[in-house]
Symmetry: C2
Subunit: 370 residues, 2 copies
């Protein structure tokens, strides 16, 4: 039976991002057992590198065995008990999802809103905390993939912790591409995806939880509603925590772990500061080119990793994207949610954030939009 080999696309959408051959090769190494001492060493090494990339010392830092949304769900189900009050900041699809996921955990969600493309001021969040004093958690999206908005986070912990609440951050499209300092910024729970700025195939969701989050989990009086994502069991496998050494929970995605380990090694070889600077520079290069063509950015405070631009008057949304894919093998993203038909999303993430890709997508757009 012949299976068709996939084309070599240039992935400049909202993710997955291009994966280096080095990571693909690492992923194809022989499969080990999930309790093999060699595999446990690889998992430990992966978690240690994740700590470096998250800039945290949190022992409970590991890749959840699912894609980014599994990480969001992991944070929600472990921190929330039915009846808890939480604040979720909604300015796009992923804030909306966080609200939905937390409601499914039985939370009473106080959603605060900003226009799509806008960001939240700390005053707005502080006011919501004053209004809802029983709030035990504030959820916010660092990099809103649906709008390209870049939410500042530094200092927000002071406000959230003053109300004895936990700071939960969606960093799916920022980890490894934007400055993100989990410990310095007092983040209590954070989740990301492998297929964005880490340039690893999708399939794992790196997460990290602070001691404050762990204390909250330890104080639960109800079982976590998800067995698969229950940290009281997962931590025994990933950290040997809770006594009794490492305990089997589920079969981890072995080869995906190889891929993530290699992708993280590449990130650390480049250095976080260099990598963040590269993403900034490529964003500026793309932005200059797009604006020179008369295209404009939707968010005022744009991500470097994802460029969300308005579709110009008269251009055929699907037609342009199809030509990019068919003639150039370039994938860019359509608008999502209320942005559907109004925006394009050009990702410059990880291995894909290069001069070559910026210049290529600009040249292609110039030709197609001419």
């Amino acid at each position: 039976m012949n299976t068709q080999f996939p084309a070599e696309r240039i992935l400049l959408g909202p993710g997955p991002s291009p994966v280096s051959s080095r990571v693909l090769r690492a992923m194809a190494a022989p499969t080990l057992g999930h309790l093999d001492p060699q595999y446990l060493a690889i998992m430990d090494e992966t978690c240690e590198m994740l700590r470096q990339v998250f800039q945290t010392k949190n022992p409970l830092t590991f890749p959840v065995s699912g894609t980014g949304m599994a990480g969001m769900e992991c944070a929600a189900v472990n921190l929330i008990e039915p009846g808890d009050e939480v604040i979720v900041c909604v300015n796009g699809v992923f804030g909306g999802r966080m609200k939905d996921v937390m409601e499914r955990c039985g939370a009473t969600v106080h959603a605060i809103e900003a226009a799509w493309g806008d960001i939240f001021t700390f005053d707005q969040i502080a006011a919501a905390l004053e209004q809802h004093p029983k709030t035990m958690l504030v959820g916010i999206v660092h990099a809103e993939t649906s709008t390209g908005a870049h939410q500042p986070l530094e200092g927000l912990d002071k406000i959230v912790h003053a109300h004895d609440a936990l700071l939960v951050v969606d960093a799916v499209t920022s980890l490894g591409g934007h400055e993100l300092r989990v410990d310095d910024w007092g983040i209590d729970a954070i989740y990301s995806g492998t297929q964005k700025c880490l340039s690893c195939p999708p399939g794992l969701s790196p997460v990290s939880f602070s001691a404050r989050s762990l204390a909250r989990m330890d104080a639960r009086t109800t079982k976590v509603q998800s067995w698969y994502l229950d940290i009281s069991m997962l931590r025994k496998y990933y950290t040997g925590g809770g006594g009794g050494g490492r305990v089997y929970h589920h079969t981890a995605p072995i080869n995906m772990t190889y891929a993530l380990r290699e992708a993280l090694a590449i990130v650390l070889e480049e250095g976080l500061d260099n990598r963040v600077a590269r993403h900034a520079k490529m964003h500026q290069r793309l932005r200059a080119g797009l604006e020179a063509m008369g295209l404009s950015y939707i968010p005022k405070h744009s991500l470097h990793t994802l460029n969300c631009i308005g579709i110009p008057e008269g251009a055929n949304d699907a037609g342009v994207r199809k030509r990019l894919l068919d003639e150039y093998d370039i994938e860019i993203g359509a608008g999502l949610g209320v942005m559907a038909g109004k925006a394009w999303r050009i990702g410059l993430m990880g291995h894909g954030s290069t001069v070559r890709n910026v210049d290529l997508v600009l040249a292609a757009l110039r030709e197609i939009l001419r």
Copy 2:
């Protein structure tokens, strides 16, 4: 940064099983976007092959983006609403987990038990249904990975459906290695793993749901507690069902899908009947060798895919397994749950179920146990 390359183990434990180089190579193909027409075609092809391997025409047949336990949780969260009464058959770790997972969905679980290593008679299940007439679901494990017991299923649907309940089957360690006919056997929901008899790395959980299951989901009055596993949304991505064509839900594990597609192609090239016959033959060969050494099987009705044997008097459990791993690069499984320290589990699954592996593990055990 140098990452260590994994050793080439011979995986004869309870999974993962050995992965062929063809599957590893397929997995390392360039990553496509999850909405790329090429990727959607690959996903469609994968789902169609899954239907053939499950022997079902169920449109809702797809790989859940998580390992086997995510498949179990997917079945539970979508079928069960709080307060539902269910029957779960518990004769090992995985029946016990099904009970736990379903309780976390708010079900009242009537557990019926058999000794570890034993199987259930249909009379026992019928009696439980008589006793609990409000039962909406019967959960049972086809291949109990913790004990090696092989549960017959053919005809059970008549009893379960007569009580207007759904038949939910755990086929993690049987799909692709044992006879398993989803439609003929009237199974309403089934989940498996990729890393057992399909010989694909872990990371996906094939599932299939009957029309009866879908009707139950459509009649829900409460939201599914897991966003990540909510079939009302997932079906729009995997089948375009529910109207409106394919809709983005989460980023599927692209490269894992390549691997699964290739693994399924290999299964279908061999042919299901041939494959089942090969697993039977290799089991008999191993069994003859083990029994000639004086070792004995724990289950009366053993799986062909997993051989659960008692640890012989005087043998050092961990020491023997360590020698197998260190000197022969052979992984076998320890006992799980109440079998810990009492049993070894030798898997002969998929690509690993070969004369070569049977003879090698027998030779190694003969030498070590001498």
